[in-house]
């Protein structure tokens, strides 16, 4: 009888402590769209694509008036500022608008198949992403986040040759969404 009472008390204590509610959020709440930089190497007989490391790169968001389509003179901080040796870019999409525009400044040297060196200094491209924003509830501790679905992406071609959407869903699991080809 005493043994049972002892076990009961012990169990109450163990369960009581183990059921203490932890209010910290352990889920990743960061939702970033990922660009992968790739180099297309064309020879007379083949076409190969490989990941490309850029010597230095700067990325900043451009605020656009959704009615007129003009860029507003609003200075946003750079997402990346003169970052060296980079092959992946992670950027936040607009949570409340359906269009996010980025200005990317490239500084890079490329050695061609003929072993010529091409230098690109302060080449600026503007990348425009049209997307849907969707509420995603995580938990009471973590709250909600905005995830996105990319509809369209287009770019200028001062440095970039082309882009391709490979994964439309942008959420809190980091995956490559868009490939940038040079």
């Amino acid at each position: 009888m005493k043994k049972i009472q002892y076990i009961t008390l012990l169990l109450c204590l163990i369960v009581g402590f183990s059921c203490a509610v932890d209010e910290s959020c352990r889920t990743n709440r960061s939702v970033l769209m990922q660009f992968g930089l790739h180099h297309v190497n064309l020879t007379d007989t083949s076409r190969t694509v490989a990941a490309m490391t850029i010597d230095s790169l700067t990325v900043r968001g451009l605020v656009v008036d959704t009615l007129t389509g003009k860029y507003l003179n609003q200075n946003l901080d750079s997402v990346y500022k003169n970052l060296k040796s980079i092959s992946i870019i992670n950027v936040p999409l607009h949570k409340f608008e359906h269009m996010s525009v980025y200005e990317i400044t490239f500084n890079n040297k490329i050695i061609t198949g003929n072993k010529d060196t091409l230098k690109f200094i302060n080449r600026k491209d503007t990348l425009t992403i049209l997307h849907e924003n969707i509420d995603k509830y995580l938990s009471l501790e973590c709250g909600s986040i905005k995830i996105h679905s990319i509809d369209t992406a287009y770019t200028t071609h001062h440095f970039i040759d082309s882009i391709r959407i490979i994964n439309h869903k942008v959420n809190n699991i980091n995956l490559e969404n868009i490939q940038i080809y040079k």
Partner: protein
């Protein structure tokens, strides 16, 4: 005493076989209230609360079908000021098995060591308020979402282990530890209830619970012979 006479090759062997004790099919009904949930409600200061009671039948002192009924709720605000509110009734039914064995010639103990299974259900409404999203990079005003009066039905199963001890004439006390698993789960990204009446805090579809019950056992049978000794005076003679 049961005597067995065995005749083999003109020899008569007398073998003593112990008396067997017949346990009636129906041994009464427990009516029990849970003290642990009341204590837990008191200490959580209204953040979560639960009150429950059950009725449990005793069949053959082995099988114990049970029906549990309760009322529970939660009113919680997180450090980020997100609110959750719910309340509702819940019910569970299932069966316990007494794993304590007794010798055939001895009276079974009234104490029980039970392992069991429950199926639980609750239909309730809940609110999640003040879910705020800010855009740290692009700026703009924060947007707040409220989910009001979401109606849902949740079902779950429970694996239970516990003991029940007769502390005084027909008054029983005991505890049960339960591992609960949700059967009905929400779609990823949907506003899931933080608390489910009867299930507890919904932490990725599983939960652990403890009950400490105090109850009374009613012997409803008119011929109250819970543990009759029946003598079998059969004489068996074999060649």
């Amino acid at each position: 005493m049961l005597m067995v006479y065995s005749a083999q090759a003109q020899k008569l062997k007398i073998k003593a076989v112990p008396d067997s004790i017949k346990v009636p099919f129906f041994n009464g009904i427990f009516v029990q209230g849970d003290v642990a949930s009341v204590a837990s409600s008191f200490f959580s200061k209204g953040k979560t609360y639960s009150y429950e009671a059950n009725v449990q039948a005793d069949f053959k002192h082995k099988l114990f079908p049970v029906f549990e009924l309760g009322y529970a709720g939660a009113d919680k605000v997180t450090t980020d000021n997100v609110g959750f509110k719910t309340n509702g009734y819940f019910e569970r039914f299932g069966v316990d098995l007494n794993v304590l064995t007794h010798k055939k010639d001895s009276k079974p103990t009234t104490n029980l060591f039970l392992v069991g299974l429950r199926l639980g259900m609750s239909n309730f409404k809940y609110n999640i308020s003040n879910l705020t999203i800010t855009d740290d990079y692009w700026g703009g005003l924060p947007k707040t979402t409220n989910y009001n009066n979401i109606s849902t039905t949740k079902t779950w199963y429970e694996l239970a282990v516990g003991v029940r001890v007769e502390v005084w004439k027909n008054i029983f006390m005991g505890w049960t530890v339960r591992s609960k698993t949700l059967i009905t789960k929400d779609k990823d990204g949907d506003p899931t209830p933080w608390y489910i009446p009867g299930f507890g805090i919904n932490n990725t579809g599983s939960s652990l619970g403890i009950n400490y019950t105090i109850g009374y056992k009613f012997h409803l049978s008119a011929k109250k012979k819970p543990l009759d000794k029946v003598k079998q005076s059969t004489i068996v003679i074999t060649k």
